[in-house]
Amino acid sequence: MAHLWHLIAAAVRQDTFLHLPMQNQRVGLDEILERAERTAGQLLAARRGKEPRRVGILMANGEAWLRGLLTVARLDATVVPLPLPVSFAGYEEYLRHIQRIAVDSALDTVVVDTTLGGALTRRLGHVLPGVDIVDITEYDGAPLRRPAPSAGDDDLAVIQYTSGSTSAAKGVMLTHRNVSAGLSAVTDALGWTDGDAFGLWIPLFHDMGLFSLLSGLARGSSACLWRPSDFVRKPITWLRSFAESPATVQPAPNFCYDYLVAAAGSGIPSGLDLSRWRLACNGAEPVRHVTLEWFQDIFGRHGLRDSALHPVYGMAEATLIVTGPAPSGVWTSMSVDRDQLGLGERVRTLPSSDPNARNVVGCGRAVPGIQLRVANAAGEPYAEGVVGEVQITGTAVTSGYLGLARDRQPFTDDGWLRTGDLAFLRAGELHVVGRLKDMIIIRGQNYYAEDIEEIVATTPGGGQRRNVAIPWDDGDRERMVVLLETSLTGAAALELAAAARDRVAMHTGMPAVDIVPVPLATIPRTTSGKVRRQAAIRLYQDRYQYRRVVQ
């Protein structure tokens, strides 16, 4: 049986712990399961006996997050992980985002704990009428008295929302069968042993955090949990805590490793020993060649193994992992012509010293249970060394986004998931080079062009605010470039651009935006008025790229 509750409950050993190193605490998983029985009783009581169906989890990383998830599984309901607000972006836009998710997923309950703070919890109650907000910090209620959970393998275990959307919330539907297959794919791909333990600070509402944690627990392994603020506030202190913990494998986005490299500049404590760190998984955003090189160079001196750096490729739609290198291998990269990475183009290798060379990191082969092809929109595979779209199928792959019409679901005619990512294969290894979908990833979060366009379009001050957002990657970092049509010129145009930029920042907390004011009727459109995005990109490249922009 693939049910998430049974998967975890059956795997628990006496020595399976959730370690919370910053609190100097560890809790046995058997204890957490028992607490979840009580929390399930409390949740039912708070809902006056009504069975929950869709339950949001909204709190910082901790025991209560995991217990909340197990509680929801125990009650045969569906988990909807909810993101925490961005620092200093304020409540208003954030609450609207939560509201959209609540409506889309038909939430009936949200579990919170004290980490959320009273002010936010109260506001949540106001914007989610009819939804029960249940604080599960305490677990002293009477345990649930009912038979073991019995939801079917095809019932939804998790609805995972991809982040950043302002217009349409997109919830990835994951059944118990998907999740069960996805969790074993992670540990199988990483060559998991009984001595391994995940250590993670990334948020549990993010798919990489959630499914990594669960995959280790489903093998009966312990896990170590920090909070994002532990890492961000004091990265080197966190690193030492990680090195001294039982953790052997860390999943994190590329920026985490960059951040540690930068932090190392102000000193590394003597005696730091990273020799037990078996795998430093790098995924959830593009893997940068220089990051891996620097990280290896600096932390290799503190015992980090050459084989530790582990570039992976995955997504919520696959219940996480899609490809990964052999667990004991050393990462590889190849240097190719950056101007020949379009759909259907054959890559050309170049010496890495060539000014047009781009170093692309290999992310390994498809993991057990996932089939992968690099193909065109019709699903016809390209030869090795030709750039195409990554398409996947397998038990862990979602059947689609919640509530989206069939013709808008991202599948080929033969039922493979279109990831929207561009890549080529070389000796069977996936090399990701870009994206077909109009999106950028910053700090592991997705930001969609259409969302940014909508925010810019509603900048106050009159006029139509016609604009086009262009995802831009210069090979080092990603940005969203926005061409904004205006009749204003000079300082007034720049002022408008600054207002639009502030608006994007307030809505998304994302700073990587360049707003370029352009004259009216500049943005290329079809006769029906639809933006011609490729033409807009060329226009930006040719005419505006090196002009003064408001950042």
Binding site: S87, A89, V232, R233, A505, G509
Partner: protein
């Protein structure tokens, strides 16, 4: 009890910390702008600045204050009120 001069001193420290993280000069940061609209700011840089401010005043800023849409001056006033209590 905090005084106006405490507030001014706090504001200077807060602006310095934010400027250091964003690579701006202190003059480029408007005390009355919302923190999230400072050019090139992002949650990670804000948190780094917060750590510096906390260390300077030997205070701890609670995580849920970070959820507010605070201005630079608002943060400085909050810091001053925390510093006055210690």
């Amino acid at each position: 009890m905090t005084t106006t001069s405490d507030h001014t001193a706090c504001l200077d420290v807060v602006i310095e910390a934010l400027a250091a993280q964003t690579g701006l000069t202190p003059q480029q940061i408007d005390p009355d702008q919302t923190i999230v609209t400072i050019p090139e700011i992002e949650s990670i840089k804000v948190l780094r600045a917060i750590v510096e401010i906390e260390q300077y005043f030997a205070i701890a800023i609670p995580d849920d204050f970070l959820f507010e849409a605070a201005t630079v001056r608002g943060l400085a006033e909050f810091v001053a009120s925390l510093a006055a209590r210690t």
